[in-house]
């Protein structure tokens, strides 16, 4: 079993192969456990919170991820040179790269995460699905057969039940992808999908799958400990997505009753245990009409892990580190959730310009503290938000006794959060949090594109507000100390007309 290699291997020096808020999260957890931390960073990330917080830093390459954060050799070499005994990959970058996990181990270090075999099994969509089917788990009904005759494909469509999605076997993205809603349109759409698949990917082979158009994204946090047991840490709902990018996540899901919760939890735990899964992982499902279907397993810590931590009272990063050292966890056999937690991802983008990325120097930031508020932040004032990496600059997480109170708290926290220097998606988040479909908890993965695709209309000012802005303009201090003092009357304060 893969677990035997993990028995009692304590380490005191941890490399972090990541950046931003997750690097800060890992450094803090490791330091609290008494470890020394080494940040493996790119050349442009010296002005970040993680760089300041880490005990040691090693520059592993240039800004482009391929030259640094995605470079296996550079990360391993950097960690070795600093005397690291283990590496935590965070999420994104190399976190789900089986070769990286294997090479870390081959170099004599510990990979804080699942085994390379776990990552390989679930990283490949076909082997993952096969494993789930073998475990008796629910997969989306579909047809992946060799018989590509139109008669057979239509028969399969009827078997699956409309609507059916027809997609290129060899491709990804939107090309060669058709939604078939009834038998009358089927022939034409399948032929068209085959033509597109042929011209785009050089193979006309298509797959059929049941099209879930009103599905919710439900995922179960699982954790495999050193004893070989997998625990379910219950579910999160992440239906608020834009182009498959999650924006708001919560725990637990407002959509599951106790029976369904127990069922989905068992399914996730069971399929992970059958794979001898070690460490943190997330099993993602689509839920529609009371039926859930397996989507994929993310073999790593998840961005939205804090909502689970808040409702269950656990620390998943520390659990990862303890497990990597072969130490047992003091967790109950079954978790009792308490209250409700919501996370909003803060992206550096302009809500009023259709989510256009916003880069620049973070001039000032205020994260309003209070009971049940948590901020995961990767940058300090003075740091540059560049276009080199993911635009997520922070996460805001709240906990309260009920879902509606958590929503109210989140709206309050976001209204008190101040970020100067880059635009953020806070105005958009506020709109989503106040939308009746979100409030009712009935939103599906189509929610965002249905209601928010057009973006927000611009901000309007009243005449008295314009007068106030003039006062601010005259008296506000200048971030760049260019000689203009905040107290001195501005020479151009009267440039704005007083209408």
């Amino acid at each position: 079993m893969s677990t035997r290699r993990r028995s009692n291997r304590r380490f005191t020096k941890l490399g972090i192969a990541n950046r931003g808020e997750v690097a800060v999260r890992i450094i803090r957890a490791a330091q609290e456990l008494g470890m020394e931390t080494v940040l493996l960073h790119s050349s442009v990330d010296e002005k970040t919170a993680a760089f300041r917080l880490a005990d040691h830093t090693v520059c592993i390459g240039e800004a482009p991820s391929a030259n640094s954060y995605l470079n296996i050799e550079a990360n391993i070499h950097g960690a070795m040179s600093a005397g690291c005994e283990a590496i935590h990959p965070g999420f994104g970058f190399l976190s789900e790269n089986a070769d990286f996990a294997q090479k870390v181990e081959e170099a004599g270090m510990i990979f804080v995460g699942p085994t390379p075999e776990n990552i390989r099994l679930f990283g490949d969509k076909i082997s993952a699905k096969a494993h789930v089917e073998k475990s008796g788990g629910p997969v989306i009904p579909g047809y992946r057969g060799e018989d590509q005759s139109i008669e057979r494909l239509i028969k399969e469509c009827e078997q699956i039940g409309f609507p059916v999605i027809c997609k290129a076997a060899a491709g990804g993205g939107g090309r060669g992808l058709k939604v078939i809603r009834n038998k009358a349109d089927a022939t034409e759409l399948i032929l068209s999908a085959q033509r597109e698949a042929q011209s785009s990917f050089g193979s006309g082979v298509v797959f059929l799958e049941k099209y879930l158009e009103n599905a919710k994204h439900i995922e179960v946090q699982i954790f495999g400990d050193t004893s070989g047991r997998v625990t379910s840490l219950l579910e999160r709902e992440c239906s608020v997505q834009r182009r498959h990018q999650k924006i708001i996540e919560e725990a637990l899901s407002p959509s599951l009753d106790e029976e369904l919760r127990a069922k989905i939890s068992f399914t996730a735990r069971d399929l992970a245990e059958r794979a001898a899964y070690v460490g943190a992982g997330t099993v993602e499902f689509l839920l529609q009409d009371g039926q859930f279907y397996f989507m994929e397993v993310n073999t790593r810590l998840q961005v939205e892990h804090p909502v689970t931590e808040l409702v269950l009272g656990v620390d998943l990063v520390k659990a990862q580190l303890m497990t990597a050292m072969g130490q047992p966890l003091a967790w109950p056999k079954q978790f009792q959730p308490r209250g409700h937690a919501i996370e909003c991802r803060l992206y550096a983008e302009d809500s009023y310009k259709g989510g256009m990325p916003s880069t620049g120097k973070l001039l000032a930031a205020e994260w309003p503290q209070g009971p049940g508020r948590r901020f995961e932040v990767g940058f300090d004032p003075g740091d540059d938000i560049t276009a080199n990496y993911d635009p997520m600059i922070a996460k805001v997480i709240v906990w309260d006794e009920t879902r509606i109170r958590a929503i109210q708290k989140m709206k309050r926290v976001l209204s008190e959060t101040i970020i100067f220097g880059v635009r953020t998606n806070i105005p958009l988040l506020q709109e989503i949090l106040g939308h009746e479909e979100f409030l009712s908890g009935t939103m599906t993965t189509r929610f965002f594109e249905t209601h928010f695709n057009k973006g927000l209309a611009g901000q309007e000012y009243s005449k008295s507000e314009l007068a106030m802005i003039q006062t601010l303009n005259a008296q506000a201090g200048n971030a760049a100390a260019t000689g203009e003092s905040a107290a001195a009357p501005s020479p151009w304060s009267h440039a704005w007309s007083r209408t």
Partner: protein
């Protein structure tokens, strides 16, 4: 965080505000705002060193008022054109005494940064 005290609805309110590179950032009624401001009220495509008499748009925006016509005599400091940009009004003034020799600004027209709107010929 730096603040500016303003009077609002009979109360003194502390507004977080900061200027940086021609932009004013402020947090107002639960939301962060940013408006473009100018380093100089002398128009000239933002360069600050404009040619005398050449009045150009200091930012992209819309012409909302024309205060002069071609051929008018104007005094230095006189309002020529009112523009709106980023929901703010901006007044373009004559930078010298003289006569309007060219009036390119059209009411309601969108203009780009640096577009020459008015030329003031030497008196």
């Amino acid at each position: 965080m730096t603040y500016v005290e303003v009077e609002w609805s009979g109360k003194t309110v502390r507004v977080p505000a900061l200027k940086h590179q021609g932009k004013l950032w402020f947090h107002w009624q639960g939301e962060t705002h940013v408006v473009e401001v100018l380093a100089s009220r002398r128009a000239g495509g933002g360069s600050g060193k404009s040619n005398p008499g050449v009045i150009a748009a200091p930012m992209p925006g819309k012409v909302t008022q024309l205060r002069v016509a071609a051929g008018d005599e104007v005094k230095k400091g006189q309002a020529l054109v009112i523009m709106e940009a980023m929901k703010m009004e901006y007044t373009l003034e004559a930078d010298r005494d003289g006569k309007i020799t060219e009036l390119n600004a059209k009411l309601g027209a969108q203009v780009a940064l640096g577009d020459v709107l008015v030329r003031v010929g030497e008196a």
